[in-house]
């Protein structure tokens, strides 16, 4: 398979994953903030195809889970009633892109709570929270990466194209940022901003902090490209026809940076998603009740959760297919740029 088709396949795969998370409302059976105090820490429900009497069903079904009398976290299945999994049900309302209200969900359990991946301490469905949490974490990573790359592109271009004292000053500042251990910088920057803020503001703060930490490396790389592009004869020729600086930048120099910017994007997005997860895990990121993969994991810091409720670990695995996709994308991009340079 040629590199180009591999690249397209990879982008398609990643796109599908992102689409799945973007349509969290559809794929999630429930509202992520809907609590059910009667079923805290319910384990994942197995789906059955064969019922208690040995009959085979084409479509899967499940049994309601009820708390055993006298316990607060031991569940047993109520096998008296087989509840079929319903498809395309009407459920809790959600908004696509924050605008269009819809009620249709892919899966549902009728009047009984269906905890496919279990529930957390407040009885909230983990599957739904993972999907909606993905929206927050991925969005943080994508917006953060976009911001950082924009800043890096601007600074790198200014430093590389005009040189002189602007270059010296900007690169020294970049060096400072690179000299700081980024994880400490991340925490310090976040922690030194107000700690208790409403979720939206917290999200924005997280994104801005992550973006502010990561601009130095892309800026240096862009600067390198701009420096070498500036000296190419086709740029000189264009100047020879009377082209202005703005024209040269727009038509010749900035397009040269595309390869670097794209590969950096593939590297940075997963890193930034991880940064958001880390911040939220430590309580410095997106706060409750909004779900993010990070803050869903913070309950694991409690020993009893760690011991008894293993399904609370699942949000940590949600990131893995995305990591895989982005890593593959990055290596494919690098491969395709390497071969095109040979031409």
């Amino acid at each position: 398979m040629s590199t180009r088709s591999r690249l397209l396949l990879c982008v398609a795969g990643l796109g599908a994953l992102h689409l799945g998370v973007a349509c969290a409302g559809f794929f999630a059976p429930y509202d992520p903030t809907a609590q059910d105090r009667e079923h805290p820490y319910a384990p994942p429900m197995p789906l059955h195809f064969v019922d208690a009497r040995g009959g085979f069903h084409l479509l899967p079904f499940f049994y309601a889970q009820e708390l055993q009398a006298g316990t607060f976290d031991q569940y047993e299945e109520n096998r008296s009633r087989a509840i079929p999994v319903e498809f395309f049900v009407s459920g809790a309302p959600y908004h696509v892109l924050g605008v269009f209200p819809l009620r249709i969900h892919l899966l549902g359990g009728g009047d009984v709570q269906m905890y496919l991946l279990g529930s957390d301490g407040y009885g909230r469905d983990l599957l739904s929270r993972i999907l909606f949490g993905g929206q927050v974490s991925l969005l943080a990573g994508l917006i953060g990466a976009g911001l950082t790359l924009s800043i890096g592109l601007c600074i790198g271009t200014v430093a590389g194209f005009w040189g002189g004292w602007k270059d010296e000053v900007l690169m020294r500042v970049a060096e400072l940022f690179l000299a700081l251990p980024w994880i400490y910088l991340l925490f310090a920057m976040r922690a030194f901003l107000p700690l208790t803020v409403p979720p939206l503001k917290a999200f924005l703060l997280v994104v801005i902090v992550i973006a502010a930490v990561g601009w130095a490396r892309p800026a240096r790389m862009v600067r390198g490209i701009v420096l070498s592009a500036k000296e190419r004869d086709f740029v000189r020729s264009a100047r020879g026809f009377g082209a202005s600086d703005a024209y040269l930048l727009r038509r010749h120099i900035v397009p040269e940076t595309a390869s670097v910017v794209l590969t950096q994007a593939a590297i940075l997005v997963p890193q930034f998603v991880l940064a958001e997860m880390t911040l939220s895990f430590l309580g410095l990121g997106v706060p409750e009740p909004v779900a993010s993969w990070g803050n869903m994991l913070s309950s694991l810091q409690h020993y009893n959760v760690l011991v008894s409720y293993w399904w609370m670990y699942l949000p940590a695995l949600a990131m893995v297919p995305f990591f895989l996709g982005y890593l593959l994308l990055e290596s494919l991009l690098q491969g395709s740029y390497a071969t095109s340079k040979i031409e």
């Binding site: 400072l176 700081l180 251990p181 400490y184 922690a191 030194f192 430590l282 893995v320």
Partner: protein, 325 residues
């Protein structure tokens, strides 16, 4: 040679200075300070708070505070911790020692694994063994360290094989020396595994790439033609040629000795620098934060410096360039 060294040292000093200014800047303009929580306590009067603040000189302008702090640092005094009411230096150092124990072990292990594996893998480039190893590395690479750390913790808890956090077990004081060593080592297994698992794939890839490239060099064929043995070839000819990128990586390994393990330490309750600094940041314990950040930066800068020195020593081209200037 000395001019090269001096330039590098001046550069490092400049970086440290810049970082300390940045840190001071951030902490000054952050909303809130250590005494905010105290304000909520009705037993402490407002005048008492102002007096406390004046005691710690928090009411002076930033430049004045910075200069006083810089002066005391040059005398070896990193300031006072508000929360613990003791000098910052010793506090940081006790914690940093624990971190270094962890990261030092992890770094040594990582390099001890990556070098031979990388060389072997580069030799068998493209063959099934190499491909298998590449796949295994890729799998490790995809798993983020948060996932890995938490996952191993869950496993440890459910299986009961390994201690689930902390540095020592209960009753440590009464253990014999040998038992103590064993106890600490046992507690180190999980965090070190996570650290090695996150660092190894990256390093292995780089070693493999650098050695593979060095193996392509024509001078190697010539040496082979002379009948030099495989082992000698590898270690006297190939490794030095591949050394350049590896030394930079080594410098980076050294540099991140204090900062790489923050997450792992928090997850596994290891009493290192990471959790301590986190706590200080949340409590706005000013001088602890600045001291800690400076210490980590010092390591980063020192790591790069050592790498530069090593490169200078190993790569004759750099020596020539430096002496020309």
């Amino acid at each position: 040679m000395t001019r090269f060294l001096l330039r590098r040292i001046a550069h490092a000093v400049f970086l440290l200075f810049g970082v300390s200014v940045l840190a001071f800047f951030f902490t000054t303009f952050a909303p809130g300070n250590y005494f905010d929580d105290m304000r909520l306590n009705p037993q402490i009067s407002a005048e008492r708070l102002t007096a406390l603040r004046a005691d710690y000189q928090l009411d002076r302008p930033m430049v004045v505070r910075y200069l006083r702090w810089a002066r005391s640092v040059l005398h070896g005094d990193l300031g006072l911790s508000f929360a613990y009411n003791t000098a910052v230096g010793p506090l940081l150092w006790t914690r940093a020692r624990n971190t270094l124990l962890l990261t030092g072990t992890a770094t040594v292990l990582t390099w001890m694994l990556a070098l031979p594996l990388g060389v072997w893998s580069a030799e068998k480039l493209g063959r099934p063994a190499d491909v298998a190893l590449s796949w295994a590395t890729a799998v490790l690479l995809i798993i983020p360290d948060l996932t890995l750390a938490l996952g191993l913790l869950v496993l440890a808890v459910r299986s009961g094989w390994l201690p689930t956090g902390g540095l020592v077990s209960v009753g440590f004081g009464g253990f014999s020396a040998a038992h103590r060593v064993r106890d600490v080592a046992w507690h180190m297994v999980l965090p070190v595994t996570v650290l090695v698992a996150s660092a190894l794939p990256v390093l292995l890839r780089h070693v493999r790439a650098a050695v593979a490239e060095a193996l392509e060099a024509p001078f190697l064929r010539a040496a082979e033609g002379h009948g030099i043995s495989r082992g000698r070839l590898l270690y006297r000819y190939v490794l030095p040629a591949a050394a350049h990128p590896l030394i930079a990586l080594f410098g980076f390994s050294l540099g991140t000795l204090l900062s790489a393990s923050l997450l792992v330490e928090v997850v596994m309750s290891w009493p290192g620098l990471g959790p301590f600094l986190l706590e200080a940041i949340l409590a706005r314990d000013l001088y602890v934060v600045i001291g800690g950040v400076l210490l980590s930066t010092l390591f980063l800068v020192a790591g790069n410096f050592v790498a530069d020195l090593l490169l200078f020593w190993v790569d004759p081209r750099i020596r020539a360039e430096a002496s020309r200037r």
